[in-house]
Symmetry: C2
Subunit: 119 residues, 2 copies
DNA sequence: GCTTGACCTGGAGTTACTCCAGGTGCGATC
DNA sequence: GATCGCACCTGGAGTAACTCCAGGTCAAGC
């Protein structure tokens, strides 16, 4: 059973050490193990879960909702339909985020073209 | 010359009234006109500029950089090359934002499929 | 035996809003 | 002509999601 030091998890997940501590504090990460000196030792599962969190965060899910997802996950397999619902709702928001970005990008490109034309 | 009330600008731009006041306070909007009673009256140009700000904000540009863009715009036409540079740099960041979102979306879809498969 | 480096904690600071309390001016209503 | 509601005003406190910092621990290398 492999364990990860804080530095390794930072490397692996792209979260900062401060963010990892923050996520633990607010309950997004459950009771991370400690070694004799009180330093964090993360498990494989922790790292996997952090991968999911990174995905949700990068797609703009608020922490309150990530917490809800975390609670569902801890509650056991009978919450899987709820989790599907949550992720499907989120997926639709990601979809419209992408559409919005594509449109904004066109605006920016137009602006650049305009600026080029007046030079 | 048309003027816009705060409520109209909110309607038109999608910013909240609080955000409009905030943007004026920090200098993203320059000295908005007032009527005799001290209430804001926005010009056509204000609304146009807010359209640009909305685009930059929605694509994740930090306020500090929007302020820089505002200053360049106020400084006159000789800053157009700088503005092009700024927007091109930003455009690249938007591009990679979109790529990132598309990848995260695949991850979410996979997760949903997985959940479906274990039901 | 001392320093260096990775880690710890609690708490203050930052960004970009968002909300609220208390107040003004104006058109419509009693 | 007093009053009501409403859209607006200001200054300041509150929020989300980190981010930074001061001061401290502990094992490892010189």
């Amino acid at each position: 059973m492999t364990v990860y030091t804080p530095a390794e998890v930072v490397e692996e997940t792209g979260f900062t050490l401060d963010t990892l501590r923050y996520y633990e504090k607010i309950g997004l990460l459950e009771r991370v193990e400690r070694n004799a000196a009180g330093q964090r030792r993360f498990t494989e599962q922790d790292v996997g879960w952090l991968g999911m969190l990174r995905c949700l965060r990068d797609t703009g899910m608020p922490i309150a909702q990530m917490l809800r997802f975390a609670e569902l996950t801890r509650a056991g397999d009978h919450t899987i339909p709820d989790r599907i619902k949550l992720l499907e709702d989120h997926d639709r928001r990601v979809e419209s985020q992408i559409d919005n970005l594509l449109e904004r990008k066109r605006y920016i490109r137009n602006k650049i073209s305009y600026y080029r034309s007046v030079l």
